[in-house]
């Protein structure tokens, strides 16, 4: 099978609580309005029927270049979410298929993105044709440029560094296949690795699976040379909110992690951001789709 040269892969599986397909539309269009290489594939299940109800085929074609239908992930994790420090709720999260993307991806070079990641600048254009086969970031900061809580830095107090599976680049290569196969093995033996690496919680986390895989692949050493050109993922906390959105900027209301009532307005311009408050994201999704559609560039996958 001939692969497309380079592109983005988004996985979205809707639940009753969360409209991941709509987030994927925003994410895909943010790619299309900010990046030169902007071929986007959506991987989904029967959630596609929801998308077909939301918009016409012509509109869908403006957002996704390929749609790959797979079976729904079997594992359904219930996760606690926040919408501001004062609203807490639970929602199912279908994240079980991430390790399988190596086989699914139609690209020679793939950037795998969480659908709640918005591309607001052109940094990801620097990633393609990389000297490395696999890239994943270790560092994330919140909107106030503060390091995340300790459990998001290391898997346990004296544990290995945590890598963020939010953003992964890989080439179709032996090394990439090895890493993805290893994460599948770790997922299948999650309880064993939970005890071995002493990380908290029982819910499957892709971040943990990839962190363990990276640790093993690097010869059981800590290594930070496999980061993206921008090695830090800027992350909006679940307790922060979005005030208004533009094509290149988002105005956030960020809360102080120690004193939740202390808020600051933060305007991020031309900076990619991981939006953890999903309800806030969805509140602004229609506006984002409209804005990004207006600024959408022609699809380019780097193929001649």
């Amino acid at each position: 099978m001939k692969h497309i040269k380079r592109g983005f892969l988004l996985l979205a599986f809707n639940s009753n609580e969360m409209d991941y397909i709509k987030m994927a539309c925003c994410c895909a269009l943010s790619i299309k309005s900010h990046l030169k290489y902007n071929h986007v594939s959506l991987v989904t299940d029967n959630s596609i029927t929801w998308l077909e109800k939301l918009m016409s085929i012509d509109e869908i074609k403006k957002i996704f270049d390929e749609i790959i239908i797979i079976d729904s992930p079997k594992d359904q994790n219930i996760r606690v979410h926040y919408d501001s420090p004062w609203t807490k709720f639970q929602a199912p999260f279908l994240n079980g298929n991430r390790s399988n993307v190596y086989e699914i991806s139609p690209y020679e070079e793939t950037i795998l993105l969480d659908v709640d990641y918005l591309v607001m600048g052109n940094m990801l254009d620097l990633v393609w044709d990389n000297t490395e086969d696999f890239l994943i970031n270790q560092n994330a900061v919140n909107l106030r440029n503060e390091k995340f809580h300790s459990k998001e830095i290391r898997l346990s107090e004296d544990g290995i560094p945590m890598y963020w599976a939010t953003l992964i680049y890989f080439k179709k290569s032996e090394l990439s296949k090895l890493i993805f196969d290893l994460t599948i093995f770790i997922k299948e033996n999650y309880l064993f690795y939970k005890h071995l690496y002493k990380f908290p919680g029982s819910i499957f986390r892709n971040d943990y699976a990839f962190s363990i895989a990276m640790h093993i692949i690097n010869g059981f050493n800590e290594d930070d040379t496999t980061s993206f050109p921008n090695p830090i993922i800027r992350t909006m906390d679940q307790k922060d909110d979005i005030v208004e959105v533009g094509n290149d900027n988002i105005l956030f209301l960020s809360h102080d992690t120690k004193e939740a009532w202390v808020n600051n307005l933060i305007n991020l311009k031309n900076t990619d951001v991981h939006i953890m408050n999903k309800r806030a994201f969805l509140r602004h999704s229609d506006e984002l789709i409209k804005l990004f559609l207006e600024n959408r560039k022609e699809t380019n996958s780097g193929d001649e």
């Binding site: 620097l126 044709d129 040379t225 050109p229 921008n230 307005l265 311009k269 031309n270």
Partner: protein
């Protein structure tokens, strides 16, 4: 609330917002300084520009530098590199300077985040 305390808290909020926006400008600068030349992704800085210019002055035929993954890279077209890096450096720092000046003049939260 006491008026003096209210004013102090308002100023505190302004200072905090200003500090975060200044840090954001620095992060934006860091992003703008990362560039790709001849398929090498590199962080542009004064040290690199000066080193390459020194190589040119000393008639070196090539130079070895490290890319963002700390891999050694051999550079042959030194003049092309210096000229591109200078352009990247000036573009990034000019924007940083202009935005920083705007922030310095912003006397309330609304102007800081505009």
């Amino acid at each position: 609330m006491d008026e003096k305390l209210e004013k102090a808290l308002e100023f505190s909020n302004y200072q905090n917002t200003l500090r975060i926006q200044k840090e954001n400008l620095k992060l934006r600068l860091d992003h703008m300084l990362i560039t790709r030349i001849e398929n090498v992704v590199i962080k542009c800085d004064m040290e690199l520009i000066n080193f390459l210019q020194t190589c040119i002055i000393n008639k070196c035929e090539y130079a070895i530098i490290l890319d963002t993954h700390k891999n050694p890279i051999k550079i042959n077209k030194l003049d092309v590199w210096v000229s591109t890096l200078l352009n990247v450096y000036n573009t990034a720092y000019n924007e940083y300077f202009d935005k920083y000046e705007e922030l310095k003049k912003a006397r309330n939260v609304k102007k800081v985040i505009s």
